[in-house]
């Protein structure tokens, strides 16, 4: 871990907020080694799963002698194998993520979030990878679980700048096609793309049995629209300008945002995708701590 110190997005002090929390996959994931997560392979690991009637040829070391002694029945114990998790963090690095009404931009917030999640994964000895994309995959760090790998992820985050247009749907499809093992997909984005197309891409991941977590980032200004007077807004992705009287349209704008998030939340829920609405005015560590706590509770 010490290797990662000194990078912009590595903040051990903040990580202390969720030091005692784990990001546990809710669904079954496939790992290489034993770990926190349930494996689809029923082997002989620590976690007892069920009894099975003994058939000749079974390893006698799993034969339950106690049952045999009490009931004269021959059973062997079966155990659910726990394995490690492969987590891919997909971070939107399009131009719209560069928006910051004050302080931290959505992209920076996303980077901090991605770094924290990566740290968490590596600490859990899970593999973690990173995909930075805009309308195409800009940079990809394949999943590994070593502390040195965290450094690579942090470096990738630090060297990236948000720019370009969002072509999220296509990019996600492309990424989905490259991930073969079931695992955890964490998408960090403002999702400013065609919602239906985005949902289709997310469902692609679900179809491939991946567990999905979506952190939908919003700048507080995007949620409150606190502008006044005659304002010319410039689209950070397209450069397009639009002159409006914010006071006049605030209500309608907020309604649009609400509809947008509501639709995402509804569609994600339907697809069993964990949707997390994120207001970047909230420190990411608090947000993450709260999320993880909630998730852990839900898992029980």
């Amino acid at each position: 871990m010490a290797k990662a110190s000194g990078t912009k997005y590595y903040d051990p002090q903040a990580y202390s907020r969720f030091a005692n929390l784990n990001l546990v996959a809710r669904s079954v994931v496939e790992g290489y080694i034993s770990g926190l997560h349930r494996s689809p392979l029923h082997g002989y690991s620590i976690e007892f799963a069920e009894y099975r009637e003994y058939v000749p040829g079974d390893d006698l070391k799993h034969f339950d002698w106690k049952v045999f002694a009490r009931n004269d029945k021959r059973y062997v114990k079966q155990y659910q194998e726990e394995t490690n998790l492969v987590c891919n963090i997909l971070l939107d690095a399009s131009g719209s993520m560069a928006y910051a009404s004050k302080g931290m931009s959505k992209f920076d917030y996303g980077c901090f979030l991605a770094a924290a999640l990566s740290y968490l994964m590596v600490r859990q000895r899970d593999s973690v990878g990173l995909v930075l994309f805009d309308d195409a995959v800009r940079e990809r760090v394949l999943p590994r679980s070593s502390p040195a790998h965290l450094k690579r992820i942090l470096d990738a985050l630090q060297s990236s700048k948000p720019s370009g247009r969002t072509g999220m749907a296509g990019t996600l499809h492309a990424v989905a096609n490259t991930i073969k093992r079931r695992g955890l997909i964490v998408l960090i984005s403002d999702l400013y793309d065609d919602t239906d197309a985005v949902m289709k891409a997310l469902r692609h991941f679900r179809h491939d049995k991946h567990e999905m977590i979506v952190f939908n980032l919003f700048d507080p200004a995007e949620l409150e629209f606190p502008f006044d007077g005659l304002v010319s807004f410039r689209d950070l992705e397209t450069g397009e300008r639009m002159q409006v009287m914010p006071r006049a349209i605030r209500e309608a704008y907020l309604k649009q945002v609400e509809d947008f998030t509501a639709k995402l939340k509804r569609e994600c829920s339907a697809s069993r995708i964990d949707y997390q609405f994120v207001n970047t005015s909230m420190p990411y560590e608090f947000m993450l701590a709260a999320y993880l706590s909630r998730r852990t509770l839900a898992a029980r």
Binding site: F233, I249, A252
Partner: protein, 713 residues
Amino acid sequence: MFLIGLAALAAPVIIHLLFRRRLAEIPFGTLRFLRMIDQKIMRRRRLEELLLLALRMLLIAALVFALARPVFKSAVFAGTGHASVVIVIDDSCSMRALSSGKSAFERGVSAALEIVSTLKPQDEVSVILASEASKSEAAFATDLEKIRLNLRGIRASCSRADLAEAAARARDVLNRAGNPMRELYVISDMQSIAWPEDAVKTLAEIPRTVPTVILDAGDAMEPNLAATGLAVPPRSTREGEPIRVDAMIRNFSDATARNSLALKSGEEVLSSCPVEAGPGAAMTYPMTLTRQTGKEWLLLEAKLGPDALDADNSHFLPLRFREKLKVLLINGSPSPVSYLDECFFLEAALRSGGIQGIGRIEPVKVSVADAERIKTLSDYAVVFMVNVPGPSPALAGALRDYARAGGGVFIFLGDQASPAVYNMLLGPAESDQTMLPAQIGPARTGGENRPDAAENAFEIIGSVKTGHPIFGGYAGEVDFGRLHYYRHMILTVPQSERNATLMALSGGDPILAEKSLGEGKVLLYAGSADTAWDNLPLKPIFLPMIMQTVQYLSSSQAAENSVTVGVPARICLAQNSEEGALLDSYAGEAIAIEGPPGERLEAKGERTGGAIFAEFPALPMPGFYTATLRVAGRNIERHIAANVDPAESDLRRADIAAITKAAPNCRIVRSGIDVAETARRKREGLPLWDWLLAAALLFAAAECYVANVVLKK
């Protein structure tokens, strides 16, 4: 300066542009939500922004224009120059009507002064008083101070005003005006009768280049009772009996009015009573007085208490008591037996007593032969011809002259009368030079027109001209149906203004006809004066009818006693029947007239027939006037009453809308300030700055509203 100010108009635009240039540009994550917002909202907001900009520009424009003090000048007053102004003032009696303690005339004069105050030196003014429009020569004057003094000195008259004549005079004066700007102001209370069609038509003919303003100085009609008449009913009365005097009161307002009425002689109140009259009601109040022996004249005044128009609260009547009134009866069928005498009933009626306000009647009965020897019939107030077979040519001529000079002749026909002689000597009836009211035909019996008629059949009265004076003044309803006509002569009354049928039988034959001849009147009765042909002498109507006939026929030559204020009149001052041959020596001396304090006038006199007539000028004030006629070294005094024209009491207002429609070139304003302002604006143009300032305030208020309420929604 104005242009500099006008440049400020660009300020909002510049500010707007600068504002646009310094428009905050905010990078934003996405415009997708903004694009999805209903474009209508955006358009509306843009319109509201434009509205705000427009309001700001209008505000500055209005302020700039207001500071430039612009005036609107019409094509009429595009040029500059001096003004010729004609002010017509309605000074009729109705202008004296009070409203809120001030008369319409006072308001009118104030308005005229306001108009004069707007004039500049070398402007010229002509003031025309409507009551004197036809008398005085209107001319322009430039001494504005003197005009103001004159205006302050004028008083409303008590007569009617001729606004038609005044408008025509104003038009003529304006045509002679020398200044380029000409204006006409008519100040009136808009009393209905003061605005005849002619007046409106004349004003409508005034060219549009001459601004014509009518100042409505009148006000809503207030209760106004008027004393419209005072009369002594012509009924017989005996010496010492109280005399009945009828006071006529009329309510000219739309509400019930109450007042008090007093019958006065000088300062002495002879009788009084409370008065109450409904809207528009005309009431007659009978009052009584007792004649004071030895007094020839009684100057009566019916006096109402104060109300909106005081000028019409008095009505005056000079009452003269004469010792006797001589009536000549020419008897065509005398009889030594009194009750068989043709004149029996007539003479009895005439001797029954005097007539109120006239005096005792003295009938003088003569035969036809004696009548022909009478030199001057003018000594008699009335001549009755009773069943005269036919007048001789000399008597016919004397009667004709007598009637022409104002005498009254009543012809009773009968069995002795010869239609042919009458028609020849007194006819033909169609001629306006002869005295016969109708062509006389043969006698006809009552049932002659009906085959089933029994013996002694009679006809009854079919129609009566009840409004005629000889039928007026009866105490009750007259039952003419009880008059039976067994025989009568057939009269044919020509269709003429001079001839009239007063009574006709049920069969259609006229029974009583009338003709005016010169100053006199002739009545022809187709029945008899006794009961041989009809029962008229036996009926109650006979006595009052004879009395009123005497009153009626004698009135044409009797001294007249009342004139209308402001109206010249020809008045019979004296006649032979009263003064005898004294008047024969009158040689046309001027007649002195002395009236209410300060009024001294003179009238021309003329002797016509047996009477002296005076050409009275228009009397200015109501009240009693004394005309003194000097004949043969002797002064003959007559009292004449001058009364306000009752039409002036009717304060109903003219239809303003109709006047506006008929004379669209006229502008009607309500107050003197309005008219002065109108005058100033007509001359100097319409100042627009006050309107512009008002508009600026309006724009400012609108701007505040749009900026702080509409745009903040």
